[in-house]
């Protein structure tokens, strides 16, 4: 007699990282295990200032459902967040605030510039707008578009996931990374 319970057979599982397994144990490198854990539980800090923020709300909502990627916990606080998503025009007056939020986040942290304004100032080629947030903080992924569709934001998010999953644990201690931080005046 068939069991009355229907099991969902479409559950997608993350692939097990490369490693060595035997009777009752499994050994892999820290890099891979931690990368796997980090990349599937990225906690974003949405810094939404304008239209791209609205587009991001659509990304968070049911149709696109950013929570699928383990990004369930959005927080408007630097505590415990690893991904700063800057969405919208950042004026020169807002620049120091973005930078302060970035500085308050703990390492490891990633930054995603969403939309033309955050990437390059966009159409606002004026005296009051910062021509790209990479003038004040380092950026990992740029999402083009004005505004980008939710698919674009998700694509950017998956690019971030790739970066996070493949990052070596020592990258943040490397000389090159320190050089990058120093070029932004971050100690």
């Amino acid at each position: 007699m068939a069991r009355p319970v229907q099991y969902n057979t479409n559950v997608k599982m993350v692939e097990i990282p490369e490693g060595y397994s035997g009777e009752g144990f499994y050994a892999t490198s820290f890099d891979k295990a931690i990368g796997l854990a980090r990349k599937n539980s990225i906690w974003p800090l949405p810094f939404a200032t304008s239209c791209c923020g609205i587009e991001f709300m659509a990304t968070m909502a049911a149709t696109y459902d950013l929570a699928r990627f383990g990004a369930e916990r959005m927080a408007f606080t630097p505590r415990q967040c690893d991904l700063l998503m800057v969405m919208g025009t950042i004026s020169k007056k807002m620049g120091p605030i973005v930078r302060q939020v970035y500085l308050q986040m703990a390492e490891p942290r990633w930054v995603m510039a969403v939309g033309a304004c955050a990437c390059s100032g966009g159409i606002f080629d004026t005296y009051s707008v910062l021509q790209g947030i990479d003038q004040v903080i380092p950026v990992d992924v740029y999402v083009p578009g004005c505004p980008p569709r939710p698919e674009g934001i998700i694509d950017g998010f998956m690019k971030i996931q790739q970066l996070v999953g493949n990052e070596s644990l020592r990258r943040r201690n490397s000389d090159r990374y320190k050089e990058l931080m120093e070029s932004y005046g971050i100690k």
Partner: protein, 171 residues
């Protein structure tokens, strides 16, 4: 009898004579120019006079006329008489090299922020203002963005076209 523009002009010329010039009425709003040093005296008279009663300052801003040598910056005051519902416009010209104009903050409290904004964008130095610092732009800004001293954008630029933003061009 309501207050007419002719009556205001008559009262002002009786009081100030040659100090005020260029009376005109674009769209029915009395507009005239005062000598730079008399702006406070004129406004004080308009404020105190029991017939005129211009006791509300609607707006202060400035205009930059690069071609007018010696009087490049024009500070424009909009005054409002609430009792008779009459408005007027007072202009004061000042050279861009030393744009010093007396502050109206002692007369109208609201002039404080308006003059800060005018300083922020045009660089008009309001003498006697209690706190003349930028109000909208960043403090580090070294220029006055609304002055017409910046080259226009190159019309042949393509890096900010619609196509760069995924719009238009292709259907």
């Amino acid at each position: 009898m309501s207050l007419t523009n002719e009556r205001i002009q008559q009262r002002l010329t009786e009081k100030f004579g040659d100090v005020l010039t260029g009376f005109e009425e674009p769209f029915g709003m009395l507009t005239f120019t005062a000598q730079k040093d008399y702006n406070l005296k004129v406004m004080q008279f308009l404020f105190d006079d029991e017939e005129l009663r211009f006791r509300f300052l609607t707006d202060i801003t400035a205009v930059h006329y690069p071609e007018r040598k010696g009087e490049e910056l024009c500070v424009v005051y909009h005054l409002h008489n609430f009792v008779d519902n009459v408005r007027l416009r007072l202009k004061v010209y000042t050279p861009v090299a030393a744009p010093k104009v007396f502050t109206a903050t002692s007369l109208y409290e609201s002039a404080n922020w308006m003059e800060r904004e005018t300083y922020d964008f045009f660089g008009v130095d309001f003498v006697g203002h209690p706190n003349l610092i930028r109000v909208l732009n960043v403090d580090e800004m070294t220029y006055f963005p609304m002055r017409k001293e910046f080259p226009l954008e190159d019309p042949m630029r393509t890096d900010k076209d619609d196509e760069m933003f995924g719009r238009g061009g292709h259907f």
